[in-house]
């Protein structure tokens, strides 16, 4: 979504809590500017207003969005999420990503994927995937490759344990610099962790490394 405006009075609301109806930008005074709107914002004729309660975020040069934390996940493009395989069809897998509808993962959306080497995922397999298409009217589409076609750690996660959190907590775990919880855990244990922006976290403690540490 691109709107031709300039940013002037929004500095006051950035990083503050906003509720639906708050006007973020008055566009009448702006022209010849491109503003990118993310989740939770909508343009109504010449104002930008909030449609979802949360915290207004801004990323240079021109991206605004509203961040909120809840149990349910609203799929949006380029999110990395953890999905559970629910069914396998001829040309895509049905994957549950805690959104309003199931998502489709095409059987060919893997690195070096051809009709001959389609992966066999059982029902209940946990996958780390990337959202490629997300509209409110269609089922979201996923992929197990990054934008350039490489595997990049996407795919099924084996062993370990998965638990549910809110989307806000998942975002906090993924924030940079590294979340202090993860660092503190890392000092005591060796583990692998995968955090999905849909509020799912998978973790595997590396027991062998832990035994080495204990003995060594």
């Amino acid at each position: 979504m691109e709107v031709e405006t300039s940013s002037s009075s929004t500095a006051s609301l950035v990083d503050k809590a906003v509720v639906p109806g708050d006007i973020v930008l008055d566009l009448t005074s702006m022209s010849d500017q491109t503003i990118r709107l993310g989740a939770g914002l909508r343009q109504y004729s010449d104002v930008l207003s909030v449609v979802k309660a949360g915290k207004l975020k801004f990323k240079k040069p021109n991206k605004y969005w509203v961040e909120s934390s809840q149990k349910r996940y609203a799929p949006s493009v380029e999110d990395t999420v953890l999905g559970i395989v629910v069914d396998a069809r001829a040309d895509n897998f049905l994957v549950d990503i805690k959104g309003p509808t199931l998502a489709f993962l095409p059987v060919l959306a893997f690195e070096g994927g051809t009709r001959r080497n389609i992966p066999k995922f059982e029902i209940g397999t946990l996958l780390y995937v990337r959202v490629v298409k997300a509209n409110s009217c269609m089922n979201p589409e996923l992929s197990c490759t990054d934008a350039s076609g490489k595997a990049a750690e996407f795919g099924s996660l084996k062993e370990g344990y998965m638990f549910d959190t809110s989307t806000g907590l998942a975002r906090m775990l993924l924030s940079s610099p590294t979340c202090p919880i993860l660092e503190a855990l890392g000092r005591k244990l060796s583990y692998e962790i995968a955090v999905g922006l849909n509020g799912r976290v998978w973790q595997k403690i590396l027991v062998e490394k832990l035994m080495q540490r204990v003995q060594g």
Partner: protein
Amino acid sequence: MEQRLANTWHMTINEKKFIESALSKNIRVDGRSPVDYRQLTIKFGREDGSSEVQLGETHVIGLVSGQIVQPYRDRPNEGTLAIFTEFSPMADPAFEPGRPGEFAIELGRLIDRGLRESRAVDMESLCIVAGKSVWAIRVDLHILDNGGNLIDTANIAALAALLTYRKPECTLGGENGQDVVVHDPEVREPLPLIIHHMPVAVTFAFFNEGDAMVIDPTHKEEAIMGGRMTATLNSNGDVCAVQKAGGDGVSLSVITHCLRLAALKAVDITSKIKNAVDSYNTARALRKVKRHNALVAPDITVPDSVMKGNQIGQLAEHQAQKFKEESTKTFDTETVVGIPKETVLFNKKNINFIRKDSDSFIGGPSNWDPYSQSIPPTFVRSSQIFPGSSTVDHKKEARTMLIESNSEETKSNNASSGLSRTSSMSQQRTTPKSLKDAVKPKSERKNRPSPASAAN
């Protein structure tokens, strides 16, 4: 179909393997030992016969209601008992509204069998006119939240509701003496059901082809269990019902081990239910006390030990008599301990005395019972002035004050005649904060005559 798939909860293979491998080492995901129950909370509603039970995250409401119907022809002098279950879709995305599913029917059948076959509820006492009118008791169990182990939770809810249900008293009247007259609860106190014993259901879940067993499975454990067995026992160790519907096979030694465990758990749960029901009954008795409209009593919550069978003076005649009999039994022990400063009476009549706005004492409660067990206000005041004084002094003071108060014109018409009773009434006083606030300090009371000054 896709929409339903999107809304259901899915279990990952990772979780399944994790829980199974943990159980093979006797570790449970929520940190319990394999034979521990989750935390049990039993609450009651305002109406008689409504219970709300929480076992961990599982939440069930039980409601008991009664209706007068014609009995079955082959059992003309027995009432009927029916269990209905309602699996609300808000409890679990897998529950669909409408006709009960297979598990819903199994749950209802299990609880029904536990109560009926073991003859826990006395059916013959439900008969009013043999062959014509009997009570039909209906237990409705509403599942509000499925956190695992619905059977045990629903059973406890049914038991708690049945133990606190009161059916209206009926007598035979009318011209020919055959008509059933159902008395209003305000007119005649409704009667509790006769429950002989409490059949408690204990559910076991089996994993790893019968190698691992846990009690009270959670929702996730239920999703991956191989088999389930429910044993219904009472605190005497009698087995009322055993149910194992399909699933993994288990050896006989495992089953006997489970039954022994269930006997221990049944004792534990029975005592918890009894405590909850007792505190409900005492709170209920308190509520039944009639007050004079002019005076608004503070809402008093009273601990159990104090309230057993005492201080309920204002009920209808037969109730007052009943409680008097009980109290004479309990108060024969003259172990009056020193009353700490903050102890206050519970008797509603006397609260009329000690309230801030009770200057006028226009009248006591509407049913004045000259033989009720009340302590005159003078005694109350003295008890406040002398913290921790010896028992003997209290009795003496009580007697002197009673004599004095008997001679004075108490506007509150609550002169007490039971001396020994009143002195022993002073035992077991603990104060809810609200009562202490309701008590006026001595300096502010205006209309009180001053026998207390003598006590000073």
